[in-house]
Symmetry: C2
């Protein structure tokens, strides 16, 4: 049996990636939330044998950490689940864009952390040049991939795959911070936000009300 | 034919990862250096169709960026090259530790950037608590992996694999900044520094003399 350890739904973008991928791929798993506010957070994850971050996947006692390694583990364990595109070069490209997300978009991630229940258009309106460059890169990359797969579906590689799961928290950020994007990209954002599992995660995030003060400083801005 | 685009040997830790992996796996490739000081750096990489970072692998016109995606691409294209451990769970673990390197060890990377030709023990001696925590994590993880594979070789998973390539620049940092580690870990550092391809890279890095002022501020410290 697979168990996925996740953090707070409202903030934990990396948890969302693994969770959404598993749900969309129809892989059965049990879910355990370890709240960021839990003073035992690091100890609980360390007891699994992983560094103190979420998500962590445990498969019959074997621990897999980091969303990239979790995606590869699932692709090997469930080869028919469509974790990666079937064609070799598109699969490589999907891995490139996932890895780019994994270590990149630092300005965007810092200025616009995932915060599903919030609505902060003033932050989007005052984006720095670095953040705008990150957004331009997203628009270019998503646009190229969508154009290349226009005939086969609404996702980056036609059908939903790990690359969409990796960018889903960014899609959520663009909504939270009301970032305006070209029409082709708006359609992609809608496709992601309309996924059944994405709606379920976001609804639960909005119901969570477990606010982390450090993530909610924007709330004070309009006062 | 495969072409690997790399940055300056002295500084580009991500280039070293891909280059060392390919050399140790005995994969033929052509190498092209794009110097960080080249005003056309971003434009040259962009012309390949990749974001402006190294390494970039080009296979017969198809571009693969990011060292994680390059490792997976090589593993698919050269299944006998030993890019990942053969056993499924060790392969998963190797991916976890590579992904941990890819997005982690921020304090260590910031305080102790790769700088092969330098020798800066004073920086190692004054490491912050955050840097020491990163080093402790390395020592724990490397120690556990080495103990689990003690009978099969000197590397993290016995034989050399992508995980060793991913940590090779960290091994180089521990030498540059003269960080002291337990005996078991010293043996691992020696195994990595003794690799033929690692020696070749480091010799070329020391002969490079293409210094980036922003990376050389430590040189002023003892004045």
């Amino acid at each position: 049996m697979l168990t996925l350890y996740i953090g707070n739904r409202n903030y934990s973008s990396w948890s969302l990636r693994a969770w959404l991928l598993m749900r969309q791929a129809e892989i059965d798993f049990e879910e355990r939330m370890v709240r960021f506010s839990d003073p035992e957070f690091a100890a609980k994850i360390a007891r699994l044998g992983a560094p103190p971050r979420v998500p962590v996947l445990v498969d019959d006692g074997f621990v897999v950490w980091d969303s990239i390694a979790i995606a590869e583990y699932l692709a090997e364990r469930f080869p028919q689940a469509g974790i990666w595109p079937a064609e070799q070069r598109w699969r490589a490209r999907a891995r490139s864009v996932c890895a780019e997300m994994h270590a990149g978009f630092a300005a965007l991630r810092k200025a616009m952390p995932m915060n599903i229940e919030a609505h902060l258009p003033e932050v989007g309106a005052s984006a720095s040049a670095e953040v705008r460059r990150d957004i331009e890169r997203l628009v270019t990359m998503w646009g190229e991939l969508r154009s290349a797969h226009a005939g086969t579906g609404r996702f980056l590689f036609g059908s939903f795959c790990a690359a969409d799961a990796f960018y889903a928290p960014v899609v959520s950020r663009l909504a939270t911070y009301e970032v305006s994007v070209p029409a082709q990209i708006r359609d992609y954002l809608e496709a992601v936000m309309d996924l059944g599992a994405m709606r379920e995660w976001c609804d639960a995030a909005r119901a969570e009300h477990d606010f982390m003060p450090g993530e909610e400083h924007y709330r004070k801005a309009p006062d």
